[in-house]
Point group: C2
DNA sequence: CTGAAAGCGCTTACAG
DNA sequence: CTGAAAGCGCTTACAG
């Protein structure tokens, strides 16, 4: 039923190995032969069996993308960039939502390995036990991490300068005159968030303006998480005049919580996000936030992965960092006295 | 370097075919043998080569998901539902963003076919030429479409009752007292949108209230598309008091355009969406919209796909339709006189 | 430049 | 219940 190399071989009167070479554009093939093979392949509607190809070559043209959750708009953008780059290179992308669950993450990784993927893009290896991480390194399949590099790790990374982003945010709010600031961040495991918090803290504490950002509240990095964290914050720390949410989605929840209390943004409380999602410019008030690469991160990560995959043996890990920029919109202003 | 069935066979003193049967839990294996094989497999860290398995079995445990764009939150939800269902069944999901581009769609389909996927989930087959569609049917791989069934098509579908959704929206706005309504919809090819517009029109025209919804403006089904369409509408049809956007994302853009004109929602103009995205309850004003299944659509589509894949030969197509429900929030009210 | 053969790592009738 | 063998559809040294 399905058409194989052998069918082309018979139809064009050459050996199957010659057909293979012609199709793969290998050296040492007479151009007439190649032309004939290509023509009959097209004529009889040949479609290569990628499974057989992968088995023979020892590697498939597939990439794995393991992220927390595709529903987080940040990852959605990253995924789109990754998929576009993969498609452009003739690879396809397997989507894996780990929910940052160690068990799922591990299962995904082994599943990808078993498929002999050409490379793996991952959110983070936090959650993978040391033994799984070693296993992963043993398999000698290129891995690019999408979070900040950890010292001693052998994995490459493509990421954003989140520390700088946090620093910009902190500097901006302090300049606006805020003295009592709060940070809403995600769970501890997400080192990314920690970096932006560190940057923010540094800006606030080193400003010499007497501003303080003692309040750090942790919640899920979702709009619901932001909402809950903000409610807690408003109840316990009424003097806070500016809130830095660790990402825009959390900021959306923060704004909702503030309005529910009968307060307004930015009149009563300033709110800043991080990520600059498309929607952040659309909601009201338009959100002041930190612009960072998302699509480009996914794209660059795939390109790096493919480059690593091209190389013979394991190489030194590479680290790519994208810059950030503050996007001033309407959700922040000086505190009212 | 990699561990194969043969290694297990040697290590446990049985033939490779016995190892295969033990691992696959086939009938007619002595339980002691199985136990021993399983134990040594685990001990030496065996990982099956899915490529070889797929080749031998003639099918891989992979599913393809071809959608317009993962960045559209509607598809994001569908994709997550699909991925969860696939993961639960031990399959993985290849993500394909077609942008509704005929060429890309075609390339994706063939790419999936070449990988011998167990099934394909697709946005729509519009864009595929008749010959590609026939080709697809020939391959005998189950396909589930995520849009309304077309008569004469042999593909199964899992979808939402968008006509009813449009009807609910129209009925609601007319009851509120609106006489001059507008619809903002997407490009013509997206039959889904057409159905919801038809339902809306029917409700308005059959209301007996003298309401009219003549204005239909087409734009991209993105927030930008909604923004542009609304600007045009506001300029040319100042009497319109209610706008039905074909999806929530467009509605976000509509609201932005209205505020930019110095008007307010719902004070001056009511706005309704369709989809009930998570963000629709978070923005201000919270959006009145039509709730429809998204995650569940993806999930059900994968389950149907897997069911079809289980069956021997081609079956009659199945059609699953999810119901809808109006979610009343704050973006609509009676028109001011 | 091309053919013949072995091999990639599994599965699955076929014997026994 | 288990072994031996053929086969899935390619690729790739090895000869010539």
């Amino acid at each position: 039923m399905t058409i194989t190399l052998d069918d082309i071989a018979k139809a064009s009167g050459v050996h199957v190995s010659t057909v293979s070479r012609a199709l793969n554009n290998a050296y040492g093939i007479h151009s007439d032969t190649r032309a004939k093979v290509l023509a009959t392949a097209k004529e009889i509607g040949y479609r290569p069996n990628r499974l057989a190809q992968g088995l023979a070559r020892g590697r498939s043209r597939t990439l794995g993308l393991v992220i927390t959750d595709i529903r987080n708009p940040y990852w959605t953008e990253v995924a789109r960039g990754a998929e576009d780059a993969a498609f452009a290179a003739g690879y396809d992308l397997v989507l894996c939502n780990s929910d940052l669950d160690a068990g799922k993450q591990t299962r995904y990784v082994y599943s990808l390995l078993e498929k002999r993927v050409a490379g793996i893009l991952m959110n983070a290896v936090t959650g993978l036990t040391r033994s799984v991480q070693e296993d992963l390194a043993q398999w000698n399949v290129p891995v690019v991490l999408l979070n900040a590099p950890r010292k001693g790790s052998s994995f490459s990374t493509v990421t954003t300068d989140t520390f700088e982003g946090g620093f910009l945010a902190g500097t901006y709010l302090v300049r606006l005159g805020h003295k009592s600031l709060a940070v809403l961040t995600g769970r501890v495991e997400r080192s990314n968030l920690t970096d932006r918090v560190k940057g923010f803290m540094k800006a606030v504490n080193s400003s010499g303006e007497g501003a303080v950002a003692t309040v750090v509240i942790r919640g899920a990095h979702t709009s619901e998480g932001g909402y809950e964290a903000a409610k807690k914050l408003l109840a316990n720390h009424p003097k806070v005049t500016a809130i830095f949410a660790a990402n825009d989605v959390m900021a959306f929840g923060v704004i909702r919580a503030i309005y529910e209390q009968g307060l307004k943004v930015p009149e009563n409380i300033s709110v800043m996000g991080f990520d600059n999602l498309e929607l952040s410019g659309i909601i009201r008030p338009p959100l002041t936030t930190i612009q960072c690469a998302k699509y480009e991160v996914g794209q660059a990560a795939v390109e790096l992965l493919l480059k690593l995959a091209q190389q013979k043996d394991a190489q030194l890990p590479e680290h790519l960092v994208f810059g950030v920029r503050l996007v001033e919109r309407e959700s922040c202003r000086p505190p009212c006295k």
